[in-house]
């Protein structure tokens, strides 16, 4: 009796496993296969590392690389630094949990950056080893990931991208003296008196101001509706937009919020509609919410200008909402493809993953590239890396022109783009002083 039951149970498990496998085989472009391919590639890369040139020797490629870098970096001691062994760089990102979507893209962007550097001679002949530390989509997870990075002897950490996680680990970063190259956009992150934090994306203050100014000035709007996610990112952004609108002497018709993953926004949109808004700012976080909001705007017959936060420019939104994006403006960290540096990133992505590159994750690529150049010159000492980072001025990355001499914020402008025929086209760059 008992045996028979176990048999049923085990055979059912087997069937489930079989079904899973069939499903995995069924969809060719799924991520599971690409991930395993990526792991394979990483393995080959690291085995190549062991057979690489002896310690301290510099290949021609690396030497020329650092020479080229010198021109765009600040007053940093010239000449290649002596580096022993592989250089560990940690990526603090969300592999599991609610944020795994973004985390996966960040990892891809970081991987291709590391591959690129390692395949062109490494850093003064040494390979970079990327340690992906899972922040588990939680604050404690991000902290654990930071500690793990320290245990793994990482010279610097890229990420996290989520503002609350950065706030949660801010003290620990200081304590560990770990240069943190972050992607969180909450304005306050770089104002906590922590000199170890460097932001590689424009903060929400810049994006929010740009959104308001664009609608008021370029579109002649005077009663602006605001719809935003009630998480830290959306709320912070909406606050900036509201302040900017009021500062310009114009009116906020209605401000409405929603919880991430709400699935239906009819009530909020109707409320904004009946308040008579003549333009709409949407500060969203989650691509799925963004896509549904855009569809429902169209379903409600709303024909006012709409400008969305950077998340609306993600490739996922383009693919999920392709039928309803027409005419929507998007504020982006930067408009993809305007610089050769971005094209290089996009090419590396397409070669490795055979999919549309994710622009929003490109800052990971820049962070790792800038880091590798700095290490090539000052070595792996964390204080020297921090010092050198804070003197970077005029470094052209894929996402923009970096200047850290003003403080922890490397960028100060955003681009406005518009969906036309299911594609984003560049409208103009908006800088905020």
């Amino acid at each position: 009796m008992k045996l028979a039951f176990r048999k049923t149970y085990l055979s059912s498990l087997a069937v489930m496993a079989l079904l899973l496998t069939v499903l995995m085989a069924a969809c060719g472009d799924n991520t599971a296969t690409t991930t395993s391919a990526a792991t394979a590639a990483a393995t080959t890369a690291s085995s190549a590392a062991t057979t690489a040139a002896a310690n301290g020797s510099t290949t021609t490629a690396a030497a020329s690389g650092s020479a080229a870098a010198a021109s765009s970096l600040g007053p940093i001691p010239k000449g290649p630094a002596q580096i022993n062994g592989t250089i560990v760089v940690a990526l603090n990102t969300e592999i599991t949990g609610a944020g795994s979507q973004t985390g996966e893209l960040a990892r891809k962007a970081a991987e291709i950056a590391v591959d690129k550097i390692n395949n062109t001679g490494g850093v003064n002949g040494q390979k970079i080893e990327l340690k992906v530390e899972d922040a588990q989509s939680s604050n404690t997870g991000a902290l654990a990931a930071l500690n793990k990075a320290a245990d793994d002897k990482a010279v610097a950490m890229v990420g996290p991208v989520k503002s609350t996680q950065i706030l949660a680990i801010n003290d620990r970063i200081k304590e560990l003296k770990m240069p943190a190259l972050i992607g969180g956009t909450n304005v306050t992150l770089t104002q906590k008196g922590n000199e170890w934090v460097f932001r590689f994306r424009p903060n929400d203050g810049i994006a929010g101001n740009a959104m308001a100014n664009f609608l008021l000035n370029d579109k002649g709007a005077s009663k602006i509706g605001i719809l935003h996610d009630s998480d830290a990112f959306g709320t912070g952004g909406a606050d900036v937009v509201e302040a900017a609108v009021k500062k310009a002497g114009k009116q906020v018709a209605k401000r409405e919020k929603y919880t991430t993953g709400s699935q239906d926004f009819t009530a909020q949109l109707l409320s904004i509609k009946s308040a008579g808004a003549d333009a709409l700012v949407i500060y969203g976080t989650n691509a799925q919410d963004d896509a549904v909001i855009l569809r429902q705007i169209k379903e409600q017959g709303m024909k006012i200008p709409v400008v969305g936060s950077p998340s609306f420019g993600q490739t996922i939104v383009t693919s999920l909402a392709s039928d309803v994006t027409e005419g929507v403006y998007v504020v982006q960290d930067f408009f993809t493809g305007r610089t050769p540096e971005y094209n290089e990133y996009a090419k590396a992505w397409q070669t490795k993953f055979n999919s549309e590159p994710d622009g929003l994750s490109a800052w990971n690529w820049d962070a790792i590239h800038l880091l590798s150049r700095i290490i090539a010159q000052v070595g792996t000492d964390n204080s020297k890396i921090r010092e050198a980072l804070s003197q970077v001025k005029g470094y052209q990355g894929a996402v923009g022109l970096f200047d850290f001499t003003r403080g922890g914020d490397g960028l100060n402008s955003v681009d406005v783009a518009q969906y036309k025929d299911k594609k984003l086209v560049f409208i103009r760059n908006v800088a905020v002083s």
Partner: protein, 604 residues
């Protein structure tokens, strides 16, 4: 002797490892351990709710969050010391536990699980949206450290010891609660709520208590989480429904019935993602499948399993023997409590009177106006064919059903409609037709639950080693042993109730009822399913009890037993009383014969 040395050695070794932990682990492992220890507190809280009381809660993360915000806001806004913050966190969370408990604990099972999910989601949204108080999505940074004089717990190595101290204290407190009268009451609710109620346990109150105690533990965990030295930051997204599920998984993994399991499960599950890193994105899938597999193959959890495996090697609890002075008193009604009249009262005193009692279930008249009197120190039998309303009568008398109409007078006081636990308190105990023991408790503990109304230690007495509560606990144990010896089961005291034979279970149930020292014992078919020998033993027992002065009202089908033991008999048929009198009268009563043998026999 040898064993004692081994145990002492083991204890020293474990203590040494625990104290040396910060030196044994690297920073990130120690950090994981710290977070695991913080999580162990809400999980311990869930142990009270699910493990002891058998109630489902998926709101632990909400209480955890309430605790974290309480302490954070008090220390940040009003400069309270974190020490006070932690105490406030306990009470505020416990208060919310009561608030949620009172309306929802009337609900059973699934409703309760659902209502707690709803509560958790509401709390999460309030933390997020009420930003004037909670600072909304920005979260709160907490500058204060725990301090003793100039010493600050500002490094995770130091914080580890603080956590260890708090966790050990609260785990020991939980342990003491488990083995107190309160803990036995909670377990009784888990094992059989109706029997618990009729042993005098106020089940609603106890459930609310377990709920708020669990919430309080979670609150302490929340406060310790808020002050973790290297974050000292909280934001609403941490306290989500998913986290409640994680707490549940931790408890289930370790073993919901053990304190050690709760702690170990929390720490273990916190380390698991580290060890399963190779699984990458698949980790949570494996974790989900693991929960299912544990439920199927390892319902007692990992620690539960280890306990079961180790059992043969652990020292058996010493066989307890009751003092002879107590043994002779078993079955004697309590003396003079709450003015209920004493044993010395005149013979012929009426203990129970039922007047024109009616109980309708919709249109069905289960009892249609019955009246009878039970005289002190007599055995009074209630008989009748199947479906005549005997058990309904017993259920109304013992408070399980409310009477539709009519009065029940117990020692001259109207008690109709009072809940069972109140009736037990005033001196009425019962056994059930289909035995309702607490199957996972030992025979001794079953009987000790019966002592509930004979003891008064509260939660504080359970946790703190107060002399009077310890003395009371000793008395409870001795009297329970005596009651077991009285029914001839002294040697089975540490056996689990579910492992006893049918006849033995019946006798444990009687011993349990006797432990309440009732004036009146209600017995629903005590001889059902017994073999002739067992029935014989039972009859001797009943006679002995009557001789001790106990009054017994019993329902029985065994006519031999009824006729040879009863002083008086009441006969019911179709909810009506058809005869009442001495056995010799009943035997010859034509109405009774007709009811039992059918109309044809009489008319023939």
């Amino acid at each position: 002797m040898n064993r004692k040395i081994i145990y002492a050695g083991l204890a020293v070794l474990i203590a040494a490892i625990l104290l040396a932990m910060p030196n044994l682990l690297d920073t990130s492992s120690l950090n994981t351990l710290n977070v695991g220890m913080v999580f162990a507190l809400p999980v311990l809280g869930l142990y009270f709710i699910l493990g002891l009381t058998g109630q489902m809660s998926l709101a632990q993360a909400a209480f955890w969050g309430i605790g974290a915000y309480t302490s954070a806001l008090l220390t940040v806004n009003w400069d309270w010391s974190p020490w006070l913050g932690i105490i406030a966190a306990f009470f505020v969370a416990a208060f919310f536990g009561v608030l949620l408990g009172i309306p929802t604990l009337r609900l059973k099972g699934h409703y309760l699980a659902m209502a707690t999910i709803g509560f958790g989601i509401i709390v999460g949204l309030v933390l997020l949206q009420w930003d004037t108080l909670t600072r909304g999505t920005d979260g709160i940074s907490i500058p204060a450290y725990f301090r003793i004089g100039d010493f600050a717990f500002d490094k995770i190595e130091k914080y580890y010891y603080l956590l260890l101290a708090v966790l050990l204290t609260l785990a020991v407190a939980a342990w003491r609660v488990r083995f107190s009268r309160i803990g036995r009451g909670l377990l009784a609710i888990r094992e059989n709520e109706m029997a618990a109620e009729s042993m005098g346990i106020n089940t609603t109150l106890y459930k609310v208590m377990a709920f708020s105690l669990g919430a309080g533990y979670a609150g302490v965990g929340g406060a310790l989480f808020a002050h973790l030295p290297n974050t000292r930051y909280i934001s609403p997204d941490t306290f989500s429904f998913d986290q409640s599920v994680v707490f549940l998984a931790m408890l289930v993994l370790g073993g919901s019935g053990t304190i050690f399991g709760a702690v170990l499960g929390a720490v273990f599950l916190q380390f698991l993602p580290e060890w399963l890193r190779f699984l990458d994105k698949g980790y949570l899938a494996v974790y989900g499948a693991g929960i299912m597999l544990i439920m199927v193959f390892l319902p007692v959890g990992v620690v539960g399993l280890i306990e079961q495996l180790l059992k043969p090697w652990l020292p058996r609890p010493a066989q307890l023997v009751a003092p002879a002075s107590l043994l002779s008193k078993v079955g004697q009604p309590q003396s003079g409590e709450s003015g209920q009249g004493s044993r010395e009262a005149a013979a012929g005193q009426i203990v129970l009177e039922v007047r024109n009692l009616q109980k309708y279930f919709g249109g069905l008249k289960a009892l249609d106006g019955i009246s009878f009197k039970v005289v002190k120190s007599e055995i009074h039998a209630l008989i009748g064919p199947n479906g005549s309303g005997k058990t309904t009568a017993l259920n109304v008398i013992s408070g399980i059903y409310r009477p539709t109409r009519g009065d029940v007078l117990f020692n001259g006081q109207a008690v109709g409609g009072k809940p069972p636990h109140r009736l037990t308190r005033s001196g009425l105990a019962r056994t059930f037709q289909n035995i309702r023991l607490f199957p996972e408790l030992s025979a001794l503990e079953n009987v000790m639950v019966g002592q509930h109304v004979q003891s008064r230690s509260n939660l504080l007495g359970a946790i703190l080693p107060l002399p009077q509560s310890q003395a009371e606990e000793r008395r409870i144990q001795q009297e329970a042993v005596a009651a077991l010896e009285f029914v001839g089961l002294l040697d089975k005291q540490s056996e689990l109730a579910k492992n006893l034979s049918y006849g033995e279970q019946r006798r444990v149930e009687i011993a349990r009822a006797l432990a309440a020292k009732p004036f009146l014992l209600l017995m629903d078919e005590p001889a059902a399913g017994m073999n002739p020998h067992e029935t014989e033993t039972l009859m001797d027992l009943l006679v002995k009890l009557r001789d001790q002065g106990l009054t017994i009202l019993l329902i029985e089908h065994d006519m031999n037993l009824v006729m040879s033991l009863s002083n008086r008999i009441t006969v019911l048929n179709f909810g009506k009383e058809i005869a009442d009198g001495y056995p010799s009268e009943i035997e010859r009563n034509p109405a009774v014969i007709e009811a039992y043998l059918g109309a044809e026999v009489v008319s023939a």
